[in-house]
Symmetry: C2
């Protein structure tokens, strides 16, 4: 009560604080499940996107994931090092394409049970309404980018 009404409103209604809190919660649940595999959900998401949408350029992948190309550049270094992704020559000497290797695909298949368990926990924790709404909104974002080029 001691704070101004505007500040109270910022606390009560802020979309960002909620989105960011949920992000920490979800990332934490996934990373905990993945810990035995020595990988985090950020990398798994990227690998999964490449496996399903690749081969594609880093720029296109960054657009799909709404990620900075510079961020992706460093994440890719780790996936390349692990042998889960390989680069192919691009149309252009500046560019290249990213593709999941058989080892990368096998890794994803291997963690499917862990992924599945995490999904279950998350739907329970977040509620099906929220999960459905997120799916719809993100699908719209992907549809806007270029119809038919779904990502992760």
């Amino acid at each position: 009560m001691s704070v101004p009404a505007k500040v109270r409103q910022m606390a009560r209604e802020c979309v960002a604080v909620r989105t960011r809190l949920l992000n920490r919660l979800v990332t934490g649940v996934c990373d905990a499940g993945l810990r035995p595999y020595g990988v985090r959900v950020a990398q798994v998401n990227i690998l999964c996107a490449i496996a399903n949408s690749g081969p594609l350029t880093p720029t296109d992948l960054a657009a799909v994931l709404v990620l900075e190309k510079s961020t992706l550049s460093r994440d890719m270094a780790k996936l390349l090092e692990k042998g889960w992704v390989e680069t192919q020559p691009g149309d252009d000497a500046r560019s290249h394409r990213l593709a999941a290797t058989p080892a990368g695909v096998a890794f994803l298949e291997g963690i499917h049970p862990v992924w599945s368990e995490a999904q279950k926990q998350l739907v329970k924790r977040l509620g099906p309404v929220l999960v459905a709404a997120m799916t719809e909104t993100v699908d719209e974002i992907w549809a806007e980018q270029s119809p038919g080029e779904q990502g992760a």
Copy 2:
């Protein structure tokens, strides 16, 4: 089509990739609006939580925001340095309480127009259904923690 069904499912249904994508989107929109003020949404969220729920201990604040205490420890250093938060002695010699200073509250009031504009953009971008679902889910999380102790 060339990837196994399990890997396709992981791409199509994953809650984490969506949550994390939305987090990047929302954080980016807010940080862009806050750039002239030399602060990011992470710090604003913390300050706002302290202004509304404080004085409270770092441990309690971390619980409200679903944040690691170690993360908070470093974020607090910046808020203390800016003079937006002050520490008060705690019940215990190990602990202390965080409270927003008048300057901190004034800063929050000052950015209200920018916050408000960002909210408008975000509701438009995410859709009212998703925003409502996030609000409901996070309110439930806060209610579970300790009835009456709402946070950010």
